[in-house]
C-alpha cells in the first residue's frame, strides 16, 4: 500500500447507540443539547435525552422492546435475504459486499425486523425498520416483510403496526425498490376492506419513498418528537427554491401542524399510546372480529378497565 494513497474509510453510518457490546459506563454526548450522558442513564430513558428530550435513533430490536409486551414477540420471515437483481456496483463496491458489511455492522439480515406480538395484550403483526442497516433503505426484502406483515394481519385478524426509520428506497435495487411502494400500498387497499387498524409510527428519519407509500397510509399516524418527516431532501428543496428553509421544516411538529401526522408521542409513552389506540379498535370490532363474525382471539379477553381518557403525560400531544 503506497503511503501516498489515503486510506479510504468509507461512509460512516450514524452511531449505533444501543449495541449490547458497548461497554457500560460509557459517556455519550447528546446530539442535540450536547449534555454528556451516561449510557445507563440513556438506557433508562429509552435512548432519549433527559435534559432536552432528544430522541436518539435506535436499532429495530431496541425499538421492539419499547413497543411490544415483554416476551410476546415471535419473529417471522427472519431468513429473507436480498438478491442482486441489477448486479449493482457503485464507485466503491458491489451491492452484495455492501450488504455483507451492513450485516456485519448490525447483525441484521436486512433493514427490517418482522413478526407477531402483543401490545397492551392485543394481537399485532408488525415490521420495524432499522436505520443502521444501509440507512433503513427499502429494497425487495423490506417490501416483502411489510407485505407479509399486512397479509399476516389479515389472515390472523391482528392489528398492523409499521415503524419507519428510513432514508427511502434502496437505489441498489433500482426499479424493483420503487415497485415495493406499489406492492405494499396495493396490499393496504385490501387491508382497508378488513376493519383491522393500521398504526404507522414515524421515527427519525421517515422520508422519501417509504413516506410516499405505507408510512403515510396509517389509520393513525404517530411520530416521535422532532423526527425528520418529509418527501424530498432538504438540500434538493433548497436548490430548487433558492432560499433557506423555515426553522423546524420537515420535523414531526411541523408535519403535524400541516395536518399529516395525528399525534406526536414521546418514546416513553409509545407502548401505552398504542395500547390505548388498540383498545379502542379492539372494542369497536369486538376483538378484531370480521363483520358479523366472532373474534378469533378468544384467549385474549378484552380488558375491562383500561382508561380511555386523555394521556396524563404532558409530553404527549
Amino acid at each position: 500500500m503506497s503511503w501516498l494513497k489515503r486510506e479510504r474509510t468509507g461512509i460512516k453510518a450514524a452511531k449505533k447507540p444501543a449495541r449490547s457490546d458497548v461497554p457500560e459506563g460509557l459517556w455519550t454526548k447528546c446530539e442535540s443539547c450536547g449534555e454528556a450522558l451516561f449510557q445507563s442513564v440513556l438506557e433508562e430513558n429509552l435512548w432519549t435525552c433527559p435534559h432536552c428530550q432528544h430522541h436518539f435513533r435506535v436499532p429495530a430490536r431496541t425499538f421492539l422492546q419499547y413497543l411490544v409486551d415483554e416476551g410476546s414477540f415471535e419473529e417471522r420471515d427472519a431468513n429473507l435475504e436480498a438478491g442482486d437483481p441489477l448486479e449493482f456496483r457503485d464507485a466503491k463496491m458491489r451491492y452484495p459486499d455492501r450488504l455483507a458489511l451492513a450485516r456485519q455492522e448490525t447483525g441484521m439480515k436486512d433493514a427490517a425486523l418482522s413478526g407477531v406480538a402483543r401490545v397492551g395484550d392485543k394481537p399485532v403483526a408488525l415490521t420495524i425498520m432499522d436505520f443502521f442497516f444501509m440507512g433503513g433503505s427499502m429494497g425487495s426484502v423490506v417490501g416483502e416483510k411489510v407485505a407479509r406483515s399486512i397479509e399476516t394481519a389479515m389472515a390472523e385478524r391482528r392489528a398492523l403496526i409499521l415503524v419507519s426509520a428510513t432514508g427511502g428506497a434502496r437505489m441498489q435495487e433500482g426499479i424493483l425498490s420503487l415497485m415495493q411502494m406499489a406492492k405494499t400500498s396495493a396490499l393496504l387497499a385490501r387491508l382497508q376492506r378488513e376493519r383491522l387498524p393500521f398504526i404507522s409510527i414515524l421515527t427519525d428519519p421517515s422520508t422519501a419513498g417509504v413516506l410516499a407509500s405505507y408510512a403515510s397510509l396509517g389509520d393513525v399516524i404517530l411520530a416521535e418528537p422532532r423526527a425528520l418527516v418529509g418527501f424530498a431532501g432538504a438540500r434538493v428543496i433548497r436548490q430548487t427554491i433558492g432560499e433557506d428553509l423555515p426553522p423546524g421544516f420537515q420535523r414531526a411538529e411541523f408535519v403535524l401542524e400541516k395536518g399529516f401526522v395525528d399525534r406526536i408521542v414521546h418514546r416513553k409513552q409509545i407502548r401505552e399510546e398504542v395500547s390505548r389506540l388498540l383498545e379502542f379498535f379492539w372494542r369497536s370490532t369486538r376483538g378484531f372480529a370480521r363483520e358479523g363474525g366472532k373474534s378469533p382471539h378468544a384467549e385474549l379477553p378484552a380488558r375491562a378497565a383500561l382508561d380511555l381518557g386523555p394521556a396524563a403525560d404532558s409530553v404527549t400531544r
Binding site: P85, A91, K183, S213, P246
Partner: protein, 319 residues
C-alpha cells in the same frame, strides 16, 4: 431548428452533407448515384448509432427537448379531448393534464404528466414535476372514471414529484401514497405508457396499472442518474455510470418483469417522426384495452394486485 445530442453528431453530419449535395444538384438530378449511396450510408449509420445506445444516451433521448409530450399524443391519438382542471381543494396543477377523450370511438379518461416547450411554459408546468394537487386531480378523475366505468390511460413523463416547500407543506408524500393505494381499488382497466422520463414516485403515483408499457427510448427509475451518482459516487457528473448501473431502460425493465411490453419508436427517437410514434402508441393502447376489457372487474383487480405483489428479488434460506 433541431436539438442534437453529442452521439448523434456523425448522423447529423452525414445528413447535412446529403442535403447540401441535393441543393447543389438542384433540379438537374446530377448526383443521383452519389446521393443514393450517401442515403444508404446514412440509413445504416442511423441504425448502427440508435441500435447500440448506452443507458445514458437513452436518458438523453427520453429528455430530448423535442420529444413529443402528453398533449402532442392527445392531438394525434385521441379525439374529443376535454381537459378538466383542478383538485377541488387547492389548485390546478399544470404539470399534470387530465380529461375526457375518445380513442377509436371509445371513451377513456386520460391523464399525463406535461412538460413545457420553452422557458415560459416550462416554468408554468414546472418541467413536468407535479405538486400534490396534480396527484389529487389525477385521483379525482380516476374515481370519476370508476363511477362511469371508463378505462383510464396514463402517460408518464416526469423527472419526479416537485421538490418544493409548498409541495412538502401540502403533503407530497401523502398525495403519492394515497394514489398508490386508491389505484389498486379501481375496477376499471388502467393502462400506463412511459413516454419519456419515469421519475420515481412522481411517476409511479399514476402508474399502479394493469398494464405498463414503455416507449423504446423512455426510462423509468427509482432515482435520476445524477441524483444516484451524487450519493453513491459523490459526484453528480458520474450520471452515465449510474444510468448504466440503475438498469432503467425499457429492455432492462422488461427483463426485470416490471413492464408488459415496449412500444417501438421511429429510428432516431419519437421526435424524429412524431406521427409514427403516435401511431405505435395508439395501436398499443387499443390492443391492451381490448385484452383488458375481456376480463371481469374483480379479476382485473386481483391480477393488478398480483402483478405488483410478485415484484422483488430475494432469497429465503432456512435458518
Amino acid at each position: 431548428m433541431s436539438a442534437w445530442l453529442d452521439f448523434e453528431k456523425p448522423v447529423l453530419e452525414l445528413e447535412q452533407k446529403i442535403q447540401n449535395l441535393r441543393e447543389k444538384a438542384g433540379a438537374s438530378g446530377g448526383a443521383a448515384l452519389e446521393l443514393a449511396e450517401l442515403e444508404r450510408r446514412a440509413e445504416s449509420l442511423r441504425r448502427e448509432v440508435y441500435a447500440n445506445l448506452t443507458a445514458y444516451q437513452r436518458v438523453q433521448l427520453a429528455k430530448h427537448p423535442q420529444r413529443p409530450y402528453t398533449l402532442d399524443y392527445v392531438e394525434r391519438c385521441f379525439t374529443d379531448w376535454t381537459e378538466l382542471h383542478g383538485d377541488r381543494h387547492f389548485a390546478d396543477d399544470p404539470a399534470i393534464v387530465s380529461g375526457l377523450a375518445m380513442i377509436d370511438q371509445r371513451p377513456v379518461l386520460l391523464i399525463g404528466h406535461q412538460k413545457g416547450r420553452g422557458t415560459k411554459e416550462n416554468l408554468m408546468r414546472r418541467f413536468g414535476m407535479p405538486n400534490p394537487e396534480g396527484y389529487r386531480k389525477a385521483l379525482r378523475l380516476m374515481q370519476l372514471a370508476e363511477r362511469f366505468q371508463v378505462p383510464v390511460v396514463t402517460l408518464v413523463d416526469t423527472p419526479g414529484a416537485y421538490p418544493g416547500l409548498g409541495a412538502e407543506e401540502r403533503g407530497q408524500a401523502e398525495a403519492i401514497a394515497v394514489n398508490l393505494r386508491e389505484m389498486a381499488k379501481l375496477s376499471v382497466p388502467i393502462i400506463t405508457v412511459v413516454i419519456g422520463e419515469g421519475g420515481s414516485g412522481g411517476a409511479l403515483a399514476i402508474a399502479v396499472s394493469d398494464v405498463v408499457l414503455m416507449f423504446e427510448n423512455s426510462v423509468y427509475s427509482v432515482i435520476s442518474p445524477e441524483g444516484c451518482a451524487a450519493i453513491l459516487w459523490r459526484d453528480g457528473k458520474k450520471g452515465p455510470l449510474a444510468a448504466e448501473a440503475l438498469k432503467l431502460t425499457a429492455p432492462d425493465l422488461e427483463r426485470l418483469g416490471v413492464i408488459e411490453g415496449i412500444v417501438p419508436e421511429p429510428v432516431g427517437g419519437a421526435h424524429r417522426d412524431p406521427a409514427a410514434a403516435a401511431e405505435a402508441l395508439k395501436k398499443a393502447i387499443l390492443r391492451h384495452l381490448d385484452a383488458l376489457s375481456g376480463v371481469s372487474p374483480s379479476e382485473r383487480m386481483d391480477r393488478r394486485l398480483a402483478r405488483f405483489r410478485r415484484m422483488g428479488v430475494y432469497r429465503e434460506n432456512p435458518a
